[in-house]
Symmetry: D2
Subunit: 131 residues, 4 copies
Amino acid sequence: MNDIIQTAADNDKFAKHNGIKLLSVGKGSAKAEVEIKEHHLNGLDIAHGGIIFTLADMAFAAASNSHGVDAVAVNVSISFFKAVSSGRLFAEATEISRNRKLATYRMDVTDEAGEIIATMQGTAYRKTPRK
Amino acid sequence: MNDIIQTAADNDKFAKHNGIKLLSVGKGSAKAEVEIKEHHLNGLDIAHGGIIFTLADMAFAAASNSHGVDAVAVNVSISFFKAVSSGRLFAEATEISRNRKLATYRMDVTDEAGEIIATMQGTAYRKTPRK
Amino acid sequence: MNDIIQTAADNDKFAKHNGIKLLSVGKGSAKAEVEIKEHHLNGLDIAHGGIIFTLADMAFAAASNSHGVDAVAVNVSISFFKAVSSGRLFAEATEISRNRKLATYRMDVTDEAGEIIATMQGTAYRKTPRK
Amino acid sequence: MNDIIQTAADNDKFAKHNGIKLLSVGKGSAKAEVEIKEHHLNGLDIAHGGIIFTLADMAFAAASNSHGVDAVAVNVSISFFKAVSSGRLFAEATEISRNRKLATYRMDVTDEAGEIIATMQGTAYRKTPRK
């Protein structure tokens, strides 16, 4: 992992607090990972929707900020398919559309077996660069 | 806060790890709180979308499980309106619709001044009780 | 209904083709109506999701364009609660949040008895006025 | 196009009223088409969000009902990327996940040049077959 990605990951205190790692970032894409631990579980002893959201959101943030323009999440929709309680989860962000002010990404969350756990769609607003 | 709420809050390891407290639960409603700390911030030093989602999700889970039937999140949409970097945030869940198998809730996230920070809409699937 | 509303409603060829009427428009709010007819039904003989969406979308468009700045839908989430096959349906749009470039609205769709049929949340992008 | 598809398309009065054709249906997939005409336009003379939604919804309905179990839409999220005012639009539905009671589909809407116009994600509830 290169230094820029490492810095981005270190700067995100919430991701760090929750054990999420950024694996890679490309133009309009990114991949993140988390290993589900005891402190990620909810009252039913399955991975909390919040950790799955945060994992996917990290890939979304990295992908939407990969073009050198600050982008912030506006709208996010997530569907949950399968309960997990251990093992590693991966989120992969793909750019669906991008214009000057708005960009939309799809994040698929999968487990170690490659099975889909959740899918997220997110739209980011791209700030006008200061001159 | 009564004992049942306390137990539900304690059992949710992820909410606990992230400092989220359940304030109240009624039939189809719930309220949760978090105080934004350094470890809730993202790389831009604003509260991470993940902590706002998790706060609202806790109110959603409490409200959707308030009728004595286990309910799990199926779909969640969240819109973010305003960046915050400190202070307390509140999420309040309201039941919009409920039938035998599905129920939908709205969660408004506000800051201490009562200004809206985000709004979430979530649908839960209600499991058939075992006999 | 005043002339401006009438003109807006007449200009929307798709709404007209499908019998949707704009009832009122205020700053950040609007109300629309449709009477469910045979040609609004799907293969199961219930009102098509498309007519319910279009009804709510009309209220959304009217409300988001009510401030004198052109606004276009970016993201819309809709949840369907109840099947209907006749009678009038109403959609009422309420502004949840608005800044310079983005605004979010909630549209509740109800039947004649006031029961909720569907709820929609929509975010619009506000174009920069030409000088 | 085979007879079953033809019948499904004919039975959907709303799709018929708005010129939407079902092109193909497979197990968990479907494709639909509409040619944008004057009566599909909104007040800004671009294709109404309602016709794009309805097109994608037709592919969603066909795909989610392709397994021999009645399925109804519960939640739909759609993001709009590009305005169009003429030509043919296509919606293609793909199954993302399916269990006994719920199934989720992704619908991409493209124009004749293959460019993406909108993307939709929809969850359907699968009714228990009567015995």
